[in-house]
Symmetry: C2
Subunit: 450 residues, 2 copies
């Protein structure tokens, strides 16, 4: 490498987890102000914490202070050592430190971790005029308010009495009391509510901000909808990755380091591999049948993957509908009826295609033509059975998992497919026996005569 070549932030990020602390400091300092800022913002909170702790106190102060209070709280929460926490908190100004400490009491993915304590507050016995000018003072203060669109009416114990929109306050006669303007029918969010549930409430309410209260009804902060957009994207990404049979990555794909990527994928892959080993056991139980009629082997992958695909469809639809609250446990009977009907229809359709394709040949060079009809019937009826089974299993397994207290997304499409594969073998060779009973019996006799 050429001496003093400018550092590429992307390359630095990629190599980050391989670097020694000294190299990290050097590399980061070489980035310069603009690239450095972007690089720092893009680091995961844990990496930010590690970097801050090895920088000089002056640098630490500079970089920690450019973070918003909730982001600073995330960073400080990543340090386990009490002394390190102190070192980081020490560089914040008093007001921010107070706010950060309050936020640190919450998990990152609960309402308290999303909220801002910079909301506009008034008292119930203020006149509209007083409230507006009091608000003007708050809005002009050093701490920027998150929104002045909603104004929160609190009592002396910080309990939330009601909400007025700024528009209502602004448009009311000047001497009207806030108490008579505010709405008391207020949707609030408990401080420990999971962020996915918070997002659901926002989607239903179509509002810009919602107040967060503790179990005493005391107001702790507000969550604004712009943070919710990020939450919804993040949760959708996690769900999609689970459906794909990967544990949720916490960082973007290209930023996830190699070992983490392997670990997140190996777990499920190994579980599915063990599950799929059962197909070998299942098949070995039918070895006499496919020895007798070798052509049966040809359709094993077709039957199994068709079952897997229909299972994937059903489980994906049902899991997503459960996530969105469209399907609940008590809907199981309606789901079952639908999937029975849909599975039967799809199975009949594919069975017909399969039968025609097999009968039309030329697919099997080795088998006499008089077996073609029987092969096509075997494929047709197995496909009907396996598509129905796939649809029913794919739709019911997520509901059963929820019933016994697991996350329905555990039944990711690949997991359902693996389960359906094993049963598919049983269905296939059971159907095959109906059509090839004579050939199978003859093979048994032959082997006895030998």
């Amino acid at each position: 490498m050429i001496e003093n070549a400018p550092i590429d932030p992307v390359e630095l990020r990629e190599a980050w987890w391989l670097l020694t602390p000294e190299d990290r400091i050097q590399g980061f300092r070489l980035l310069g102000a603009e690239d450095g800022e972007e690089f720092f913002f893009d680091l995961a909170p844990r990496d930010q914490a590690e970097l801050l702790l090895i920088l000089t106190p002056a640098e630490r102060r500079l970089w920690l202070r450019i973070l918003a209070p909730d982001d600073a709280a995330d960073v400080i929460q990543e340090t386990d050592d009490e002394e390190d926490r102190g070192a980081l908190l020490a560089v914040l100004d008093t007001a921010t430190r107070k706010e950060v400490t309050a936020l640190m009491a919450y998990e990152e993915d609960e309402a308290g971790g999303l909220m801002s304590s910079r909301f506009a507050r008034v008292r119930a016995d203020m006149k509209a005029d007083e409230a507006v000018s009091y608000l003007r003072k708050q809005a002009m203060g050093a701490e920027q308010l998150e929104t002045i669109y909603y104004v929160y009416v609190l009592d002396a114990q910080q309990r939330l009495l009601g909400i007025a929109s700024f528009r209502e306050l602004f448009g009311a006669p000047g001497d009207r009391l806030v108490r008579d303007i505010m709405q008391t029918d207020v949707v609030t969010i408990p401080e420990e509510m999971d962020q996915e549930a918070v997002a659901r409430i926002f989607a239903e309410q179509d509002v810009i901000a919602l107040p967060v209260v503790d179990d005493q009804g005391r107001m702790k902060g507000i969550v604004t909808v712009d943070d919710i957009v990020d939450v919804v994207e993040e949760e959708a990404t996690e769900d999609i990755q689970k459906y794909g049979g990967v544990e949720a990555l916490d960082e973007p794909y290209l930023r996830t380091d190699f070992l983490t990527l392997v670990k997140k994928r190996a777990t499920w892959l190994a579980i599915l591999f063990f599950g799929e080993l059962l197909t070998a056991n299942a098949l070995s139980g039918y070895e006499d049948r496919f020895r007798a009629v070798a052509g049966l082997v040809l359709f094993i992958p077709l039957i199994m993957s068709t079952g897997g695909n229909s299972g994937s469809q059903a489980s994906t639809l049902v899991i997503r509908a459960m996530t969105l609250g469209e399907v609940r446990l008590r809907d199981w009977w309606r789901v079952l009826r639908r999937e029975f009907a849909v599975g039967l229809t799809l199975g009949a359709l594919l069975g017909l295609i399969g039968a025609l394709r097999v009968y039309a040949g030329p697919l099997i060079g080795l088998d006499p033509a008089d077996q073609l009809l029987r092969f096509s019937m075997t494929v047709a009826f197995s496909v009907v059975g396996i598509v129905m089974f796939g649809s029913l299993a794919g739709s019911m397994i997520p509901l059963i998992l929820r019933r016994v207290g697991f996350d329905p997304a555990t039944a990711s499409a690949p997991a359902v497919a693996t389960f359906v594969d094993v049963v598919g073998i049983v269905i296939y060779f059971t159907v095959a026996k109906l059509f090839f009973a004579a050939d199978m019996a003859r093979a048994v006799i032959d082997s006895c005569l030998k």
Copy 2:
């Protein structure tokens, strides 16, 4: 059914698509005001349009007017007949009709279809005081403004000159000109931008509303972030359904009628079925090999589904990362390197598990013990090959699809799995030949001697 029994809205909704127009009117009227309103809001726009057209003009007026202008526009857009459109537009008041007509020029999923024209506007040469009281008038008007948090500064041609936050206007000295307060560095959204792109901008900007402009820079409306939460959820659902091998449903699972559900699933299922038929062709090419060593059949499902699972993982991760803009076409080489390394590692891990499991037996009753080592080697090396191939194909196919102009999500996990299945058979029997060459040769000789 008991005469005059109250109608269950859920049952009515389920049976809706089976009912005659007369039954629909009867059923809807029996719901009563409260259930009726909820039922009507929950209908899809097309069903709302059909229902409105068969109701009396008085009822039509009542129900259409309870919809927000953008929802009313969606409903009217669902009617193709010019006369029907007229009948629906006629019941709106003049102001709303004008707004609805303007919104109808846009597709439902583009920025124009999301926006509201009820935004706060001021002129650049107003003083701050004037602007605030002008705003007060707008806020108090009959048409409720969507937000007064941002104030838009327009010239006589309705071109957007700048934006001031209400807070800035409110806090400025009264005689300061809006021109000197406003910010001119404004992020705008073109009126025809796709809603997914709009959501991406909101996620980056962390703002509450963004202005929509036409290609002349004239301001047409604002999109507020509360609508974006719905968009993000909707797009995530579509993506998830595509990954699951289902065409995106436009309505919730339980509300989708039977025929639509079958159609949305049958298309992909049939395409995959045709693809999977190729596995039978591929297998028939190796019939001599598995006739010679019948035990090879036992591991076909294991090999294939392991390849499919690793392909699903890679394609899910890469497609989602592309959707989020984390992976771009020019990153292909970085993705390829990662997947090569990850595939090799995962393949080696699973290959080891597979070899140990097969060697440990007892899995195969029929094969002599001296073949166990060879079976376990065959499984191990095939698994390494297939997991690597699955990871590479799963990650590269979405990038190739994007390169040639298709939606990467077309390469849904099941589609990649089907492709990998066919190649898996080739890999498996190629490896098997290395270990079982002698047995295979002997079988050929035997059959010639017969």
